[in-house]
């Protein structure tokens, strides 16, 4: 609760002055702040989702085991091969699909469920607010490791279950932010008007709250995408998460570290891919935040 109120000091509200029309080099800089991470992200997405169809890239599984553990820059295998002889470049690209999709799904669930419940709680106030937020407090108060391992073991492995497990983290976080932002809106004239005119709750939430709360949730989601990709790796380290042999950046790094000093390239390449993607998401989030908060 407190966190988001504090954060509110730097997040936009409806009565923030609209950004002045950008002009000259300032405008260029502002656009560049969004353009370069967007371009980097586009590049990553293109490489993961489109490139495998265009370029002669082998499948991520099914390589010849006789090509096991080739070093980087081997002919035909620019990043080398894994113990099964699979091309690491291909695994990085296909693994990226899984990692990015998991991260997107987790944040979308957080955005929809957490954001929705948080907005409703903030809007309702009183007992409804207390009940919803105490439930999330319970989730937040459990040590994250205990929660993640218990949920993940109960659900079993696989992409869908990994998404559900990680959603246990994203939902309460989004709820807190949405609630705090909604509270800031409560005293706004249009909200008071909507309340007086007896507009139904779903309509208030969708028409009035969502458009105003959306930007800060979106920037939070941008930062959250990177976090989810890293946590997915932590799950893999504990032997949970995305099931082998399907690649994800998390499980590639987690498997690679088992023989880190013997085969560093198993860890190096997916880590670089993860880094570039996290940079892109984070910078894009910052750029958008800066734009929405009036160009700071």
């Amino acid at each position: 609760m407190a966190v988001t109120e504090v954060r509110g000091s730097s997040t936009p509200t409806v009565d923030d002055a609209p950004p002045p029309a950008p002009a000259g080099s300032a405008a260029w800089r502002r656009n560049f702040q969004i353009a370069w991470p967007a371009a980097l992200l586009g590049l990553v997405l293109f490489a993961c989702f489109v490139l495998p169809f265009l370029a002669p890239i082998p499948k991520p599984i099914g390589g010849s085991v006789l090509n096991s553990l080739l070093p980087s820059f081997s002919p035909g295998h620019p990043f080398g091969t894994d113990p099964n002889g699979n091309d690491i470049l291909s695994r990085v690209l296909y693994g990226g699909r899984t990692s990015i999709m998991v991260a997107l799904a987790v944040n979308l669930i957080g955005l929809a469920i957490g954001g929705g419940l948080g907005a409703i709680a903030g809007h309702l106030g009183g007992i409804g607010d207390s009940v919803i937020m105490r439930l999330f407090d319970v989730l937040i108060a459990i040590p994250s490791l205990a929660l993640i391992v218990a949920v993940s073991l109960s659900l079993g492995p696989g992409v869908r279950n990994t998404i559900l497990t990680l959603a246990f983290f994203s939902v309460p976080a989004f709820a807190r932010i949405a609630r705090a932002e909604t509270l800031r809106l409560r005293e706004q004239p249009f909200m008071v008007a909507a309340k007086l005119s007896g507009t139904p709750m779903w309509r208030v939430v969708l028409r009035h709250i969502a458009p105003n709360v959306g930007p800060s949730l979106m920037t939070f989601a941008m930062l959250g995408l990177g976090v989810v990709m890293v946590i997915e790796g932590a799950l893999s380290f504990l032997g949970l998460g995305i099931q082998r042999p399907s690649p994800s950046w998390g499980n590639m790094i987690a498997d690679g570290q088992l023989s880190l000093s013997g085969t560093p390239n198993l860890v190096l390449w997916p880590s670089i891919a993860l880094f570039l993607t996290v940079v892109a998401f984070n910078q894009l989030g910052e750029g958008l935040r800066s734009r929405w908060s009036g160009g700071r």
Binding site: M1, A2, V3, E5, V6, R7, S9, S10, R29, G125, R134, L135, D137, V138, L139, I140, A141, I142, P143, S144, L145, A146, L147, I148, V149, A150, V151, L153, S154, G156, L183, G226, V227, M229, V230, G233, A234, F237, L238, G250, I253, A254, Q257, L260, S261, V267, S271, L274, F275, T277, V278, V279, N282, Q283, E286, R289, S293, G294, R296
Partner: protein
């Protein structure tokens, strides 16, 4: 509480204390902690009971026959209904009895303090390192936003956020225990063998734990500082008064931004226990993380519940402390209101 303070014939000093908004906030928050702790214990117990397999299976391994598994589960008390087991546990817990570990038969209260101390020390050290680096880094970066130092530190901190902490832990070990034999690659030296030796044994794990935090704090603080510097009236005023940039940064902007930082640090505590288990494992530290993880795998609910409740309590208290601190730093905050 307010009724007592206002209507009671208590001496003025007591009524002043009881009526104090800070105390009301504390009492109110402590009362809400009870349903939260109850919810935590129920949810954790349910989750442990939902896990596939059983305690006996985990303990006996893949070579156990169904008969052996059934026999051991009976002996461990898992043949009783879950609700009964939960209520028994709750009854003992309320009376202050944490019970015996289902698996090792050791009293939890006997094992826990030592392990808590290791993890507590590790986390404290990690906080000191992360804040000690993050604050100067953020101040320096925020002094000239979007200039070269800010850019470099921005990339550096993003890299830190995207680096898996177990890889970092191993790399630190390779660099500073193997190549340069400066620190131990594993193990814990108790504080009874000297504070120096103790801190020395915890240094690498604390750095591995602190690094992602450091990056997170630095990023958070830097953008908040930039917002303060560029947008807030009091900064303009301070500048107009002719205060130097460092003074404005430290005396005004940082003071305000520190509220947010305190709250974030408070919230991080329960997340950290997740990171510590991996770091404790890699550096073979006898902390609470590995003990908790083993407890979950073996459905040792007395052990798991004790740890989870302690951390839930710490989380609640830490958030409360952050709120109180926040209120102390900024008297404009209205207590207990939203």
């Amino acid at each position: 509480m307010t009724d007592v303070a206002q209507s009671g014939p208590a001496p003025r000093i007591i009524s002043a204390v009881l009526g104090s908004p800070a105390l009301r906030l504390i009492v109110k928050r402590l009362l809400t902690a009870i349903p939260i702790l109850l919810g935590v214990s129920i949810l954790m117990f349910v989750l442990l009971n939902l896990l596939p397999g059983s305690a006996a299976l985990q303990l006996l391994g893949p070579q156990a026959t169904p008969e052996q598994i059934a026999k051991l589960n009976d002996e461990l008390g898992f043949n009783r209904p879950p609700v009964q087991r939960y209520l028994e546990w709750l009854g003992n817990f309320v009376r202050g009895d944490l019970g015996k570990s289902i698996v090792s038969k050791q009293p939890v209260a006997q094992v826990l303090p030592e392990k808590l101390a290791v993890t507590g020390e590790l986390v404290a050290l990690a906080f000191v390192i992360s804040l000690g680096v993050a604050i100067p880094l953020a101040l320096w970066a925020a002094r000239r936003p979007n200039k070269i130092f800010d850019r470099i530190s921005g990339l550096f901190t993003t890299a830190g956020l995207s680096l898996a902490n177990y890889v970092l832990a191993l790399l630190l070990g390779l660099a500073f225990a193997v190549k340069l034999p400066w620190f131990p690659s594993f193990g814990f030296t108790s504080i009874s063998k000297g504070l120096g030796n103790n801190l020395y044994s915890l240094f690498l794990p604390a750095v591995a734990l602190a690094f992602p935090l450091l990056c997170f704090y630095a990023r958070f603080l830097r953008s908040d500082l930039v917002d303060q510097l560029q947008g807030e009236d009091y900064v303009m005023t301070a500048r107009a008064k002719g205060l130097g940039p460092w003074r404005v940064l430290l005396r005004h902007a940082f003071r305000n931004s520190s509220f947010g930082l305190i709250t974030i640090v408070g919230l991080n505590i329960s997340t950290l226990i997740g990171a510590t288990v991996i770091i404790e494992r890699i550096f073979a530290l006898p902390g609470i993380g590995a003990y908790l993880l083993d407890g979950i795998l073996t459905r040792d609910y007395t052990r798991v519940q004790a740890i989870v409740m302690i951390f839930a309590l710490i989380t609640v208290l830490a958030n409360l402390a952050a709120d109180v601190l926040y209120a102390v730093l900024d008297p404009r905050i209205r207590y207990g209101s939203n």
